[in-house]
Structure formats: structure tokens, C-alpha cells
């Protein structure tokens, strides 16, 4: 629903990486693996 959408938009960028929570290698790899082919 719109609220949920807004909440997630506030917390995460469009690639699914959190704006505020520190990341680590595994999480970053996961984010990268979900990024579509960006060439």
C-alpha cells in the first residue's frame, strides 16, 4: 500500500540498499546481484 511503499522508499534506495544501516560484503554482494544488467 502507499504507506508501506513510502516507508521503504525512505529506508532503502532503488537497489535495495539501506540508506542508514551499515552494510557488509555479503549484503553488498546481494544488492549487486539483484541489480539488473546496467551496462
Amino acid at each position: 500500500c502507499p504507506d508501506t511503499k513510502e516507508h521503504f522508499a525512505r529506508e532503502y534506495d532503488c537497489y535495495g540498499d539501506s540508506y542508514m544501516t551499515d552494510t557488509d560484503v555479503a549484503q553488498l554482494k546481494d544488492v549487486f546481484s539483484r541489480m539488473k544488467d546496467h551496462k
Binding site: T23, V25, L28
Partner: protein, 209 residues
């Protein structure tokens, strides 16, 4: 001049050992020379291109196929062991030797060719030439062997070099990936810390408003 030398045991005297040298220019089908020796006596002869054509025609065999048969019978040596028979009948008086070669079949054999060889007046010279020919071949083959051996060692060393470089490349790729992720993490978390801080300040500012 191409040459081969083979050991033969004639069906006419299976215990005996003879050596048959065939020599030809470019292709056997254009005619060939024969030298036969038992180590003591020697005989020579030639088979001309025309005789080859006539033999093939007599047998109603395709000439190319006939020449292939000749190659297997007279040149191939060990590779055709048992498939071809040789007959030798010496005519001491006329200093000749009747030599024939035939293809062995399951139920019989058919003659491939025959000719009369002339005895050589100085067989020792022929023997020396044959042994000399062998030594020359051995020398060439030995040299080729050594060359191939060296080539092998060089190829092996090249292969193992490239194999090592590949291993290094794979390691480097893995290390690169780990290294880049570690660096990315540092930079990203810096930015996140900044965002957290700004978010805190903004919340405080909103409260004061």
C-alpha cells in the same frame, strides 16, 4: 629418391632372412628399383611404370588400387606382416633370382607381381650401402627424436608457465573482488553514517519547529 628396407622371410624358405630395399622417385606407381640380399649375395632389378600398368591390367585391377597393394606389400614392412608372401628362387648358374610377391587371402592368395633379379657382382658393396643407409636413417631419426624431445620439453615448460599464470590470474581475480568489496563497504558505510547523522539533525530541527 625414396627408399625403404625391410626384412622378409620367403614362403619358399621361411627360415631364411632376406632384406628387401625398394627405391622410387616421388611415387611408387612411376616405377621402382629392388635390391635383395641374404647378407652374402645380392640381386637387383627394376619394375617400370609400364610393367606396373600391365600387371594391373592383367589382374583387371584399378591401377591406383594396385599401386596401393604394392606399397603395402613392398614398403609397409612390419605393418603388413603376414598379409603378403614373397617367393625367392635362386638361379646360381645364370646369376639370377626369380622374385615374386603375392597377396595373402583367407582362402588362397593372388600374385601381385614377379620379376627376375640380376645377381650383383660385388654384394659386399650392396651390404655396405644397406648398412650405411640404415645408419643414415638412424642418424636422422635420432636427430629428429632429440629435436622432438627438446620441443616436448619446451612445450611442457611453456604449458606449465601458462598454467602458473592462469592460477595467478584466478587468485588475482578473487583477491580483486574481495578487495573492491572491502573498499566499497568502507565508503558506503561512511555515507550511511552521514545520512544517519543528517536524519537525526533533521528530526531535531523538526521538533524545535
Amino acid at each position: 629418391m625414396e627408399k625403404t628396407l625391410n626384412r622378409i622371410h620367403p614362403v619358399s624358405d621361411p627360415e631364411a632372412t632376406y632384406f628387401l630395399q625398394i627405391s622410387w622417385e616421388k611415387d611408387l606407381g612411376t616405377g621402382f628399383g629392388l635390391i635383395l640380399t641374404d647378407g652374402q649375395c645380392a640381386w637387383t632389378g627394376t619394375v617400370s611404370e609400364a610393367e606396373i600398368s600391365r600387371e594391373a591390367a592383367d589382374m583387371e585391377m584399378n591401377r591406383e588400387k594396385y599401386v596401393e597393394e604394392l606399397k603395402k606389400a613392398l614398403i609397409a614392412g612390419e605393418e603388413s606382416a603376414g598379409k603378403y608372401n614373397f617367393s625367392i628362387s635362386r638361379d646360381e648358374e645364370n646369376m639370377e633370382c626369380h622374385f615374386s610377391y603375392e597377396r595373402n587371402l583367407k582362402d588362397g592368395s593372388f600374385r601381385l607381381g614377379s620379376l627376375k633379379l640380376q645377381a650383383v657382382s660385388s654384394p659386399a658393396e650392396v651390404v655396405k650401402e644397406l648398412i650405411g643407409y640404415c645408419l643414415d636413417c638412424l642418424g636422422r631419426l635420432q636427430a629428429k627424436n632429440e629435436h622432438l624431445q627438446k620441443e616436448n620439453e619446451r612445450l611442457f615448460s611453456d604449458w606449465s608457465d601458462v598454467e602458473k599464470r592462469l592460477e595467478k590470474c584466478v587468485e588475482a581475480k578473487e583477491e580483486l573482488e574481495v578487495d573492491l568489496y572491502n573498499r566499497f563497504i568502507l565508503v558506503l558505510n561512511e555515507k550511511k553514517a552521514k545520512i544517519r547523522n543528517l536524519q537525526k539533525l533533521l528530526n531535531e530541527a523538526k521538533e524545535s519547529v
